[in-house]
């Protein structure tokens, strides 16, 4: 048995031993242990080093509010830093390491920071690095020099660089009543609401339901409170109208009673089950919410209150009662309220010696005196702890007489030997969610705490959350809240009977003992009471400014343990009561949320993907697939040993020499139909469509309302009132919404219907000198000669028995045809075309070759229609009709859009025979050391097999006028500089003789 493990009691399973490591050393624990309880059981006192001073730190709490014992959990190469050891359930093989120490936890170089403590007082970073020049060192330059060292020394855990391989899910849930927290109040609320037939969700951030019932040592309905909680939870478990969510933190409360939660599904398991996500993000819409989130015990502020071995009183009580672990053998307590006495008695019963209960209050109630006697503890009322002793573990404390009325210390300090000091500074209701919901907390002088205010959304509070710190109160409030939330009425049966230790819920208004030495307010950020006073002396009077200046309550703590003591000290310095200083508003998240759970199905194997009808064929035939938005498209069909460049050059060359075929099913396709369809197209395109003959297609350009280019594509007139519009792959959705907006909002009188038919059609583009011969060999029912199928003509026929629509248009610059068939026949038609093309040397080509041929032709795509370019910039002004208004026509001629120095589309030829880079700048004068005066940038580049050169398209200032001139590319990021010639964007076959045939 481990040195600090008690023989009996608690929820742990002593028959099941679990092996794990901490900082490389092997340890054992039991099923039911957290990392914190298991390490404490092994006698470990040192859990981490503090943020700034690298002071040794132990574990302060037993729950989610832990500021000190933050560890990094390793799973293979994946690191997860800043996890509270109190929230990690151990499993076989758990590997955890401590943080913020160098070279090791027990021997840390930066701990020397403590000696020069004043150097790192509040505002150190601000004053040193934002301030004026100090000698030759200007503040910001000095920061740049020091940053590396400071970032290494001061901080939390280090994030890993290995990709997170875990799976995450998102769930939407709806309920009548969401109960947050499952202590006695939450359990009663859930039960009462469920009994009314309401749909209930009960969430609990810990692994087990019951909250304080699991360790209070109280009796409910004649049984141990923990058993009562387990029984109540099991009664809820089987119900159809109840969903229980353990290990689930409700971290955000948003408008419309929408709450966000994260469920840690498999963090406690050695490995996830099949298909199990690591975390599940819950978006919960609740008609009403019961907030039964309990309260946090507050530390007291006194010198040495951060030494390992100093712990919150209830945490020690919990370690003893719930985990069977004694955090010390000789325990002292320091308190300003009654709750510590129950803790003393619990630890006494668990086998510890209680050496003293130091209480700031001069008078104790007879009940407390009786509890102290039962615990066989020396009762030191009217005293305070003024120092702690020891290094990496506590060895003793010093106490002095204390006058609560004026904070004065008197008499000699006396030493008491102790290996553990428990403190209790009163309790703060966990009002974070209510604060997020928009409510401003109200100070309660009796409780010395901010209590939740009147709800601004549909929530009801219950239990310690409302300041009702007794279990009997929690049970009564919980049931009332559950009943009210479910809209229930009537008189229910008698309430469960609680037997509990007595105690006054109101603490003495003492937060700090002022004596020599560092007294910590915020343990996580090493903010001391003196730092708060310094901030005040330097003129920070607002609590929000105090927070930013001192970093009080930032990072994972978010004021859970530090908020009220910090405020109290600030209030005293200002000479104002606490409510006038105010509290900060809590914002989501309540506690850390994994980024993975927020991204959920948007990445990994749950991400949706769109596949063309011919996808499987491409994969089976050696295509390297490329993801474009949600689509997957063939990039190249590489032969073995080929580089990407070799593959696309081969594919493009073969297409221009004989023929090539490419899958164009991803193009957006929209059916535009109705009596006013032609009129509508005249309004959305810059050019005329009403004059287009049935059976013909036309290339069209759309502008945005502001006159900039939006999208391009061909539109086919299939009938008098029936058009098939194609859009770029990337803009398919946007164009559809654009059309719908104008039809629904601006021109509802137009009789037009638009339908997205992208997924209805499979498309194959076949181009090259042999393309027509290939079609002639496989198309039946129509001729494909020049007379029947002229440029931009459309015919219907069959391929291998399947009806197809063929339009003669060209993106590659070759004689080319787009063949559309029903999506279900896509592969069948594709294979028939491949088969027919065999004797003609037909190749399949991918996006790279497609891009290469379009660059050679100087066609624009999204890289050039980038939201900043106009039709004129792209030399598409010939498409701007003067006969009619269209979307963007009024705004496109504004001064700035027709200025002579605008970026215009040009071609570039590399003069050093080296590849060009997308995004590289273009300059007139090369200055590698100090690049300046960019005149434009490259939008697309490739090796052109037709020209035998590296070429690019670029947007260049006054580009047209620069044709024939030399310039340089300047790409300092990739170290590529070199001469280029500026030419027309039409590199290849500028008069179009090949495609017109």
């Amino acid at each position: 048995m481990s040195p600090r493990r008690i023989d009996t009691g608690g929820r742990i399973d002593r028959l099941r031993t679990i092996r794990f490591t901490f900082d490389g050393a092997p340890y054992t624990g039991h099923a039911g242990d957290t990392l914190a309880s298991a390490l404490l059981a092994n006698g470990v006192t040192l859990f981490g080093r503090s943020f700034k001073y690298h002071r040794p730190r132990g574990v302060l709490t037993s729950g989610v509010e832990e500021p000190n014992a933050l560890v990094t959990v390793l799973r293979g190469e994946v690191r997860e830093p800043n996890i509270a050891a109190t929230m990690v359930e151990i499993y076989d093989g758990l590997t955890a390491v401590s943080q913020n120490r160098f070279p090791s936890l027990s021997w840390d170089v930066s701990a020397l920071n403590q000696l020069g403590g004043n150097l790192l007082s509040a505002g150190f970073y601000y004053k040193t690095f934002m301030g004026p020049a100090i000698g030759p060192l200007k503040g910001t330059r000095f920061w740049m020099f020091c940053e590396h060292f400071i970032r290494r020394a001061a901080g939390l855990g280090r994030a890993g660089i290995a990709a997170d391989t875990a799976r995450y899910e998102r769930m939407n849930a709806f309920c009548d009543v969401l109960v947050v927290g499952s202590g006695p109040a939450g359990l009663m609320a859930a039960k009462a609401a469920a009994d009314q037939g309401a749909r209930v969700i009960l969430s609990e951030l810990e692994p087990h339901f019951g909250g304080s019932a699991n360790w209070s040592g109280e009796t409910i309905d004649g049984m141990p409170a923990a058993d009562w909680a387990a029984r109540t939870a099991s009664q809820l478990e089987g119900r159809d109208n109840v969903r229980l969510l353990p290990r689930t933190t409700v971290w955000g409360y948003y408008d419309g009673n929408t709450l966000a939660a994260v469920e840690r599904v498999t963090d406690h398991k050695e490995r996830p089950g099949k298909g199990e996500p690591r975390h599940r993000y819950w978006a919960i819409r609740a008609k009403s919410v019961v907030l039964a989130t309990g309260s946090f015990e507050r530390p007291l502020v006194f010198p040495g209150n951060d030494r390992p071995g100093v712990m919150l009183a209830h945490a020690a009580e919990r370690y003893a009662n719930e985990y069977g672990v004694l955090p010390g053998n000789r325990i002292a307590l320091f308190t300003n309220n009654d709750s510590a006495y129950r803790a003393a008695l619990a630890l006494k019963r668990a086998g510890a010696a209680i050496v003293a209960i130091v209480d700031v209050r001069p008078e104790l109630s007879s009940e407390m005196r009786k509890l102290a006697d039962e615990a066989e503890a020396k009762s030191l009322s009217g005293h305070a702890v003024v120092a702690t002793e020891g290094g990496k573990a506590l060895s003793g404390i010093k106490v002095q007489r204390f006058d609560m009325a004026n904070g004065a210390l008197a008499g000699d300090a006396r030493s008491i030997q102790a290996d553990c000091l428990l403190m209790s500074g009163g309790w703060s209701p966990t009002i974070h969610l209510a604060s997020q919901a928009g409510a401003k907390a109200e100070w309660n002088a009796a409780r010395q705490a901010f209590l939740p205010p009147k709800p601004t959304q549909q929530w009801i509070g219950a239990g310690a959350f409302t300041g009702s710190f007794s279990t009997a109160g929690a049970i009564a409030e919980g049931r009332a809240a559950g009943l009210a939330a479910a809209g229930g009425t009537g008189t229910p049966a008698a309430l469960p009977v609680v037997e509990a230790a007595p105690g006054d819920p109101d603490p003495a208004p003492v937060f700090e003992i002022r004596a020599n030495g560092k007294s910590f307010v915020d343990f996580q950020h090493d903010v001391t009471a003196e730092d708060v006073r310094l901030a005040h002396r330097e003129g920070f009077v607002s609590v929000e400014h105090l927070k930013r200046y001192t970093t009080l309550g930032m990072a994972t703590d978010q004021g859970k343990s530090s908020n009220i003591p910090g405020l109290a000290i600030m209030a005293e310095a200002l000479g104002k009561p606490i409510p006038e200083v105010g509290t900060t508003r809590f914002r989501p998240p309540f506690s850390a949320v994994s980024i993975g759970s927020l991204a959920a199905e948007r990445f990994g194997d749950l991400k949706p993907e769109r596949l063309t009808p011919m996808h499987d064929w491409h994969v089976a035939n050696g295509a390297t697939m490329y993801s474009a938005g949600l689509w997957y498209r063939p990039m190249i069909y590489g032969l073995s040993g080929e580089t990407i460049e070799q593959a696309y050059v081969r594919e493009a060359k073969a297409t221009r020499e004989s023929a090539g075929i490419v899958d164009v099913s991803t193009l957006g396709k929209i059916a535009v139909q109705g009596p006013d369809a032609a009129e509508f197209l005249d309004r959305v395109y810059t050019n005329m469509f009403s004059t287009l003959a049935v059976g013909k297609a036309r290339y069209g350009l759309m502008l945005r309302e502001d006159g900039l280019a939006f999208d391009d594509g061909t539109t086919w007139r299939l009938g008098e009132q029936d058009f098939l519009m194609t859009t770029t792959t990337a803009n398919a959705g946007k164009v559809m919404q654009h059309l719908e907006y104008f039809l629904d909002v601006i021109w509802p009188e137009l009789k037009v219907h638009v339908t997205s038919v992208t997924d209805e059609w499979a498309g194959a583009a076949i181009g090259g000198p042999k393309a027509r011969a290939i079609l002639a060999a496989c198309v039946t029912g129509t001729a494909v000669d020049n007379a029947t199928l002229p440029f931009m003509g459309i015919v219907r026929g069959k391929i291998s028995g399947v009806p197809v629509m063929i339009c003669r248009l060209s993106f590659s610059g070759e004689m080319a045809f787009e063949v559309y068939s029903g999506a279900g026949y896509g592969t069948h038609v594709w294979e028939a075309l491949i088969e027919a093309g065999k004797p003609f040397g037909l190749v399949t080509y991918g996006l790279e070759a497609l891009g290469t041929m379009r660059i050679e032709k100087g066609h624009v795509t999204g890289a050039e229609i980038d939201g900043r370019t106009t039709a004129r910039d792209l030399h598409l002004d010939w498409m701007l009709s003067k006969k009619k208004p269209f979307i963007g026509s009024a705004m496109m001629d504004r001064e700035g859009l027709i200025a002579p120095d605008r970026l215009e589309l040009v071609g570039l030829i590399s003069l050093d025979n080296q590849p060009l880079n997308g995004g590289a700048h273009i300059v007139e004068t090369l200055d590698e050391a100090n690049p300046h005066d960019s005149i434009g940038h490259i939008t697309a580049c490739c090796y052109s097999p037709a020209l035998g050169k590296y070429i690019a398209l670029a947007l260049v200032k006054d580009g047209k006028a620069r044709r024939g001139r030399r310039a340089h590319i300047s790409d300092p990021l990739r170290g590529r500089f070199g001469p280029v010639e500026i030419v027309s964007n039409h590199f290849f076959d500028p008069d179009g003789s090949r495609m017109h045939g």
Binding site: D255, R285, Y741, D744, V745, P748, F886, A890, M891
Partner: protein
């Protein structure tokens, strides 16, 4: 945030696409009044309180809705079809229910 689509019922905001300020007045297509076009394309109110907005139920019936939303509280006080009473859709809905 919930938007109650007159056709589909109350739905999460995730199903909708914001389509801009509902106060915009588009000039006649042939208008050459650049000031009017400028106001339509660029000028926006930024009220702290009720705001007229156009939302498309893009993940549902795809209708455009005129929504009055309070920018401080996200409270939605009215939702209507942007193109009017949308008779066809309502008829369709009534038939679906019967």
């Amino acid at each position: 945030m919930l938007i109650t689509c007159p056709y589909c019922g109350p739905r999460d905001v995730i199903e909708f696409t914001y389509q801009g300020d509902g106060n915009r007045q588009r000039p006649q297509p042939a208008s050459q009044d650049l000031d009017a076009w400028n106001a339509y394309v660029y000028d926006r109110l930024n009220p702290a309180g009720d705001h007229n907005e156009i939302w498309q139920h893009s993940g549902g019936c795809r209708a455009h809705l005129k929504v009055v939303r309070n920018t401080l509280t996200h409270e939605i006080s009215s939702v209507a079809f942007a193109r009017g009473d949308h008779k066809a859709a309502m008829r369709h809905k009534a038939e679906g229910k019967s």
